[in-house]
């Protein structure tokens, strides 16, 4: 399981770049691994507001459907359009080309509630027990 340093992680297995103005959001390597092959993704449109801890999208794998939760609040600035045709990129490169959305952060203090890579790794290890 890959958990790069420098990112912030949510307990719902999303990652976010710890930037104060525009943040990129995706799902973790562990999340994509648990979901299995992703075949469909639903994402919000540019301009939509998303709120911390609320679902902002849906990821559908062969075997299950899961909500994607906003790790922090903000306004959608950009959507990874390439995923509509090639959602499997999320499996292949969850922290790179598989990013989901970029948002204009509305309250950067929310980043403080998230985990760093070591804390997230620890949480996943506990979940596996």
């Amino acid at each position: 399981m890959e958990v790069p340093p420098g990112l912030k992680y949510s307990k719902e297995h999303e990652w976010v770049t710890a930037e104060e103005s525009v943040a990129t959001i995706g799902i973790t390597d562990h999340a994509q691994d648990q979901l299995g092959e992703i075949v469909y993704i639903e994402l919000p449109s540019v301009g939509e507001k998303i709120s911390k801890d609320d679902p902002f999208g849906v990821v559908e794998s062969v075997k299950a459907v899961s909500d994607i939760y906003a790790p922090i609040s903000g306004t959608v600035a950009e959507v990874n359009e390439g995923l509509r045709e090639s959602p499997e990129v999320i499996n292949e490169d969850p922290y790179g080309d598989g990013w989901l959305i970029k948002i204009r952060v509305s309250d950067s203090s929310e980043l403080d509630d998230l985990m760093d890579n070591e804390e997230y790794e620890e949480m996943v290890a506990k979940e596996k027990e």
Binding site: G36, E37, Y40, V58, V62, K63, V65
Partner: protein
């Protein structure tokens, strides 16, 4: 809660890198390389499955056939030795207790292969019907099951066995040695492809599985998990207990009338005969979401097309991405009162998605996928 059970192949699955899941009280492989690749391997070449979780019952002696005739909707009396049949076991009210395969191994010797989740319930029910006098034995614990499915399954297994496996017809069964392991070999399966199911002593299952893995490697056979088993059976329109079948659902509603031989005295016969006469109140159909993306999964409600209000007319029982068609497909029960609509809407996360109602199965061997 009962502790999770494992088959004798558990450590082998670990070594093969399987992702595990829980099914029918067992910790089983969900997938190894990936559901889609495994699915396609079975359609194009071959795949091997550990089905050690399935239950096996033996019946023998003078009372065996009579018990089957009374307990099952299909008539085992029509079965010759060396043949198998798909059948169902119903409640007096015509609900389905389980769907299973009956193998007639000898004149008065039968084996039943039942769903893992129903082993205990089936055993109790059969004992209630007098299975003690029919030489009943629950052999589930000590019996392993390895399935090899796909167009190249025959070639792979024939190379490992002196028995004439290749000459077996669909639903034939024989005792055979494969890779030096004694098994009951049946030309049955749950994938919509040609293939074999090998019942074997649980202790010998790993030896058999490994030998077949090795023999299948040059043909790019893949180990397959329950994920691919589910997508394969769904495309082939085969019911899965707990999805298309349960105690509130009759085999006739599930479109399994050809496995219900009326005019005999069996449990549920009166109810099923009435349903046959008067028509069922709902029936199983194929559902193809028209956006080609949204997966209509089990439990999602089905509504009439183009109507914002009004009650649902059906409910999804299965739904998944169908790798042979590269789009999601599913199955649903539709109320007979709704007529036979060609199009419906499925409520997927508070949104209505248009869907075509299509006949089952989606996939038939030898015919190119058209859905």
């Amino acid at each position: 809660m009962e502790a999770l059970r494992r088959t004798t192949l558990f450590e082998l699955h670990r070594r093969l890198g399987a992702r595990m899941t829980v099914f029918g009280g067992f910790e089983m492989p969900l997938s190894y390389a990936g559901i889609i690749d495994e699915h396609r391997a079975v359609r194009a070449r071959a795949g091997i499955f550990d089905l050690g979780h399935m239950g096996e019952f033996e019946l023998a002696g003078a009372g065996a056939l009579a018990l089957l005739e009374r307990a099952m909707t299909n008539s085992a009396a029509r079965l010759e030795a060396g043949r198998a049949q798909y059948t169902l076991m119903c409640t007096p009210a015509g609900g389905t207790i389980d769907d299973l395969i009956v193998y007639r191994l000898g004149h008065a010797r039968f084996m039943l292969c039942v769903n893992a989740s129903n082993i205990a319930a089936d055993r109790e029910w059969l004992l209630e019907l007098g299975a003690k006098d029919a030489g009943f034995r629950d052999a589930s614990e000590e019996t392993g099951l390895v399935a090899v499915q796909g167009p190249e399954a025959q070639a792979i297994l024939q190379g490992l066995s002196p028995a004439p496996l290749g000459q077996m017809r669909q639903f034939a069964v024989m005792e055979a040695e494969v890779a030096g392991v004694r098994c009951v070999a049946a030309r049955t399966g749950y994938t919509g492809e040609d293939g074999f199911e090998l019942f074997v002593a649980a202790a010998a299952a790993a030896k058999l599985f490994n030998a077949i893995l090795e023999a299948g490697a040059p043909r790019a056979m893949m180990p397959c998990g329950l994920g691919a088993r589910d997508t394969l059976r769904m495309e082939a329109g085969l019911p899965l207990y707990g999805h298309e079948l349960d105690r509130a659902t009759s085999p006739l509603e599930a479109g399994l009338g050809m496995f219900v031989k009326l005019g005999r005295e069996f449990v549920g016969a009166a109810t099923l005969a009435a349903q046959h006469r008067e028509g069922v109140k709902r029936h199983l159909v194929g559902i193809r979401t028209e956006d080609g993306r949204s997966v209509a999964r089990q439990g999602y409600k089905v509504f009439p097309e183009g109507r914002e209000t009004g009650a649902e007319i059906g409910i999804m029982t299965s739904g998944t991405f169908a790798p042979s068609f590269n789009r999601p497909l599913g199955m649903a029960y539709l109320a007979a009162a709704a007529g036979a609509p060609a199009a419906v809407e499925v409520e997927i996360r508070n949104r209505r998605v248009g869907a075509a109602v299509v006949g089952l199965p989606f996939y038939r061997r030898g015919k190119p996928p058209a859905a």
